[in-house]
């Protein structure tokens, strides 16, 4: 109820600002030059760190503050390779020294606990507060544990989600290492929409990659509420070739819809109680929503995500707040690292143009989601997105998935490009 009231207030506030813009010709903000403005960015993940860096690089005189609770960020992309046993957690961990020292971003290690849109202020856990001209929120995701009976957030210590990378990834890796040969790994996959659509299927590929070498009698079972998934044909082709019948995927109407998790018994109950699947290692990836601060700030819709003007990523709730990354509703753009990286650039350009009194652009961006089935077998889905008719849409005729039935050379090249993609995008963001 509190949120609902606040949302209406924010909306009214937005409309008032728009009216002022039409009437007078300039809001107080547009009177600023971009160089004198203060932009606060919340969240130092892919979207937020990109936005902060590009704002500063495009407008060096602008004051840009990035607020992130952790000293380093571990990317979710690449974390499956740690589970595969051929990448270290250090290799997917990134710090903020270059944003601070080279780009001149003011990086503050703190947590935002409140947003007051009226006074354009964010409150920090340390007790400080900061005033902004424009606020970019890149809060990532949080989990909806309430949607699954039997399990709660604290149970992630025994049944990891590993869908925010870091200690959760290491916990799942340790459990796989401790699992006996002949054991069963069960992935309980999330319903749409969720972070990284092909992620669960790359994950089971990487788990199978590790098990095939070290514990070849083991089994991988995916319990999935969905009837299909991203790059399904490609994954199934790769699984059949490399893992035989080690991986078993069960879709929603085939016993995959889990209704309850028995935490102490590591057992998933599916199919109206008909199916009980016992795991040695269970990996439950819950249903998802925008990060908590987006809800606290009154920026989310009934589905739990932040609606934005997809041209600029400005929140529909407030004229000075932008939401990017997995938390936003972005049309055809997926909840992926590459999309968040693109949105960081789009929002930087949108803010600079608005502060300079220029019309918004119709942004166009290219995105690739790579995934590994083995160390030497990569697959991809590509897209070019454009703002068209009020939404981010895939350009007709562009993009698509890697072709089926390709040579091992093609797959190896895509695996090499997967690693090049990781090196490139993380350099672009934190390097």
């Amino acid at each position: 109820m509190h949120n609902f009231t606040r949302r209406h207030f924010l909306k009214a506030f937005g409309i008032t600002s728009a009216a002022a813009l039409t009437g007078i010709g300039l809001t107080p903000l547009a009177a600023h030059s971009a160089g004198k403005a203060h932009v606060v960015v919340v969240g130092g993940g892919t979207g937020g760190a990109t936005a902060a860096r590009y704002l500063k690089q495009l407008s060096p005189d602008m004051a840009v503050t990035l607020i992130e609770p952790n000293a380093t960020y571990v990317t979710c992309y690449g974390s499956n390779w740690v589970l595969g046993g051929f990448e270290s957690i250090e290799a997917i961990t990134h710090g903020y020294d270059n944003l601070r020292d080279r780009d001149g971003v003011d990086v503050i290690q703190d947590k935002v606990i409140g947003v007051d849109a009226d006074s354009r202020t964010v409150r920090l856990e340390s007790g400080d507060s900061l005033q902004y001209d424009k606020l970019v929120m890149s809060p990532g995701i949080d989990f909806k544990y309430d949607d699954m009976p039997g399990i709660e957030e604290a149970d992630a210590e025994t049944i990891p989600h590993a869908w925010k990378a870091g200690s959760q990834t290491e916990l799942l890796r340790a459990q796989l290492q401790a699992m006996p040969n002949g054991g069963v790994y069960v992935m309980v996959a999330p319903p749409n929409p969720y972070r990284c659509p092909p992620g669960p299927y790359e994950r089971v590929s990487m788990v199978a990659y590790y098990l095939k070498t070290h514990k070849p009698r083991s089994k991988v079972i995916v319990l999935d509420p969905k009837e299909g998934f991203a790059k399904q044909g490609l994954f199934e082709e790769g699984w059949a070739e490399h893992y035989g019948d080690m991986i078993e995927w069960r879709g929603g109407s085939n016993g995959g819809r889990v209704e309850e998790i028995d935490v102490s018994g590591k057992t998933a109950h599916a199919d109206g109680g008909q199916e009980r699947v016992r795991a040695d290692v269970m990996n439950f990836v819950p249903a998802q929503r925008a990060g908590q601060i987006a809800h606290d700030a009154g920026l989310t819709n009934e589905q739990g995500w932040a609606s934005v003007d997809q041209r600029t990523f400005k929140s529909v709730m407030d004229d000075n707040i932008y939401v990017i990354g997995d938390a936003s509703v972005a049309g055809a753009m997926p909840k992926s690292g590459h999309a968040a990286n693109n949105q960081g650039k789009i929002v930087a350009a949108a803010i600079l143009r608005e502060l300079s009194g220029q019309e918004p652009l119709d942004p166009s961006s290219a995105s690739t989601c790579y995934g590994l089935i083995t160390l030497d077998y990569g697959v991809s889905i590509a897209a070019v997105y454009q703002y068209q008719n009020g939404a981010q849409a895939a350009v007709e005729g562009s993009g698509g998935v890697s072709p089926l039935g390709q040579s091992s050379t093609f797959r190896r090249q895509e695996a090499e490009h997967t690693r090049a993609w990781y090196a490139g995008i993380t350099q672009d963001i934190w390097g």
Partner: protein
Amino acid sequence: MKHSRLFAAGLVASLAMAGTASQAIADNDEITRGQLMAASCKACHNAAAAEKGVPDLSRVSAGVIQSQMRAFRDGEREATIMDRHARGYTDEEIEAMSVYFARF
């Protein structure tokens, strides 16, 4: 085609006015759609990715970027993924983005 050349010539002229190639975009310069498109490409086509075999486009001329993007798009050059990307751009868009890579 004439129209495209004029468009590209205009961009080159505005680039020349904007100053040196390596300079950050100054406050009063307008950020263009072509620049934003090139910034998107840069995530995969920078120096770090080049160490793993993907071309760093800041070292490729605008003319080569244009000809190769058209070749990928029109099926004249084989690719694992660039054909799928290149089909998302018109000639005008390829020209608009191509002039920005040297500035990164």
